[in-house]
């Protein structure tokens, strides 16, 4: 039996390590949180986006989402986070889109782990003014760090990141592989405080279905302390049990179920509605022209909810049009 006081058999060389800032992996802390705070009962978790964000997103949280505001992203939850003026969030931008820009414009963000994200005036100015710090990773390394978090371990070995400035600025380590003797990188697990996942279908308990490719929805939900699911459709729990193979997330991972038709707007939810390119151009123009405050006022602050935004700012005709023009449903709903 191993004993802390015992001499190690031998030692493994730690060859190099990055000096980036990251939250120290704490799988035991994650376990205790799950034990003490997560409900294993089948309880109705439906709530408004206001309640979900008020209860489960806090200043200073590490926030992860999947995929991004251009495709099946939790856009309505992001707007609610801005509306509730959360501050000092640390985002996991694993193949992000303008999500990080939007939340930064809303003043919600202090740190971003970057895989890839749309970068424009908002991020640039926030960096210049020191309001936002970036931490360079890669899309895959971020997805993989979520996998590590989902596996309940503190790190995973991987065969990239090494040799680049990404390694130097990251929390990665290069060690002598105890099995092959060759150098191998390790990356630290991430256990986000909260995950935001927009799904196609979900029952009231949180059993959720995602259709189509994705970044790392299952890993992100498993790795995160809190999971807010927004869903295009609430379905009957018995329907979930009729097709258990279709379930992406089982209920016990999920803390809140927000019914949010068009929750991905202005992005697409493939098979349901296309992206609103006009809105995306409006966003782009607001960024370039430095009128993001107007944009946020129009789309976030001047409306009290996602539903009100859809009604008063998008309008039923546009919604019908976006649905009608998503003609490719194959593999999703047909």
């Amino acid at each position: 039996m191993p004993d802390a006081a015992r001499e190690p058999l031998r030692s493994i060389a730690l060859l190099d390590e990055g000096d980036g800032a990251y939250r120290a992996p704490d799988p035991d802390g994650m376990r205790r949180f799950v034990r003490d705070e997560k409900d294993r009962r089948l309880v109705d978790k439906r709530m408004s986006e206001q309640d979900a964000v008020a209860r489960f997103v806090h200043d200073g949280d590490y926030v992860s989402y999947d995929t991004n505001v251009w495709r099946r992203g939790p856009a309505s939850l992001m707007r609610e986070i801005i509306r509730q003026r959360r501050r000092s969030l640390w985002l996991a931008a694993k193949f992000s889109a303008h999500d990080a820009t939007l939340l930064t414009a809303g003043g919600c963000v202090s740190d971003i782990d970057v895989g890839w994200m749309e970068v424009g005036r908002v991020i640039n100015e926030a960096m210049q003014e020191g309001r936002v710090r970036l931490h360079e990773w890669t899309n895959g390394a971020l997805a993989y760090r979520h996998l590590a978090g989902a596996l309940g371990v503190s790190f995973l070995p991987l065969r990239y990141v090494g040799g680049t400035d990404v390694f130097r600025m990251s929390g990665a380590k290069l060690i002598e592989d105890p099995y092959t003797g060759q150098p191998i990188c390790l990356v630290p697990a991430v256990n986000p405080d909260v995950a935001l996942i927009h799904v196609n279908q979900c029952d009231m308990y949180g059993n959720a279905r995602i259709f189509g490719p994705g970044l790392a929805p299952a890993e992100t939900a498993m790795a995160s302390r809190r999971v807010i699911v927004s869903t295009e459709e609430i379905i009957d729990p018995e329907e979930i049990r009729k097709h258990p193979g279709a379930t992406t997330l089982p209920y016990y991972l999920v803390d809140a179920v927000v019914h949010a038709p068009f929750g991905g707007y202005p992005g697409t939810v493939p098979g349901l509605y296309r992206a609103d390119l006009q809105h995306l151009m409006e966003f782009g123009a607001a960024q370039e022209q430095g009128t993001m405050d107007d944009y946020l006022d129009k789309w976030v602050f001047s409306v009290s909810s996602h539903t009100e935004m859809l009604e008063r700012r998008v309008g039923l005709q546009k919604l019908h049009q976006l649905r009608a023009e998503e003609t490719h449903t194959e593999g999703y709903y047909t």
């Binding site: 258990p244 209920y251 016990y252």
Partner: protein
């Protein structure tokens, strides 16, 4: 309770375990056998939708009762689940702390709750009796917050030294022993259930502690069938025998084909605290 009250050692362990099952917890069990039957029995008795995951990745199924004939090879065992995943996924859920309690069968157990499901007698390469192996018990006993072990109260089963340690209890019982072996903290065996006694573990010494004894048995009777001497609770509870309601549900509703009938038949006479064991005889086919 009548003089004709009779049950097998396996039935008793299943009924006692069912009493320990809590409605709002999530369990991890093997694909078949007494641990699963204990959960199905608890469901049946309380009408509660008690949730469990299975090694094959099935999450919270609603297995119909009576249970199918060949559970391990029956699609019905996975029916009406909330998700069909795979072995790694449910192990990850356990690793993340989602699974409150594993319920497992053990061939041998030692005073710190370490247990054996690999072999007895001889040596690893030439065992006298070889069993199926650790299966999923090692990960379940390592990762779930609590573990309930089912076994029979016999000297060859409650041993000073395991022939093989397949799955971890409190290891050598020293503080932090599990953590030093790489296991998550605050986990470990919680109860050991047999046909006539239930044990827990002392918080300080991690040694097995006798908590309850059947009225037709006694502390001496129990200690006489163990190689090691467990701690004795300050107040040892009386362990009511399987009730008729429990046995009826198990026999008529859960397992009418009688596959749970294993171990020995125990025939009781008397009433309340005056219950006496009058016969012990092997059950058919064991």
């Amino acid at each position: 309770m009548t003089a004709t009250h009779a049950f097998t050692t396996t039935e008793a362990a299943i009924c006692y375990t069912a009493r320990l099952i809590e409605d709002d917890r999530l369990y991890f069990v093997a694909i078949g056998g007494p641990p699963l039957l204990a959960i199905l029995l608890a469901r049946r008795l309380r009408g509660a939708d008690i949730a469990y995951v299975v090694e094959d990745g099935t999450i919270a199924p609603r297995m119909p009762i009576p249970t199918p004939a060949f559970m391990i090879g029956a699609g019905l065992a996975s029916s009406r689940a909330v998700a069909w995943t795979d072995m790694n996924t449910v192990d990850f859920h356990a690793g993340l702390g989602y699974i409150d309690c594993g319920v497992l069968a053990a061939v041998q157990v030692d005073e710190f709750g370490n247990f054996n499901s690999t072999f007895t007698g001889g040596c690893y390469d030439r065992p006298e009796r070889r069993f199926g192996g650790p299966g999923g018990a090692n990960e379940i006993a390592s990762l779930c917050w609590r573990t309930v072990l089912l076994t029979r109260l016999e000297r060859r089963k409650f041993v000073k030294k395991l022939d093989f340690s397949s799955s971890p209890g409190y290891l050598d019982g020293t503080p932090g022993a599990r953590e030093r072996a790489g296991l998550p903290p605050e986990t470990g065996p919680w109860r050991v259930v047999t046909e006539r006694a239930i044990f827990g573990f002392d918080e300080a010494t991690r040694r097995m502690k006798l908590l309850a004894v059947a009225p037709w048995s006694s502390i001496d009777d129990v200690l006489g069938d163990m190689q090691f001497t467990p701690l004795i609770a300050e107040r040892v509870e009386s362990l009511p025998p399987p009730s008729e309601a429990e046995l009826d549900a198990l026999r008529a509703d859960i397992d009418p084909m009688g596959r749970t009938i294993g171990g020995d038949w125990i025939h009781l006479a008397g009433d309340g605290d005056s219950l006496q064991r009058i016969v012990v005889e092997p059950a058919a086919g064991t």
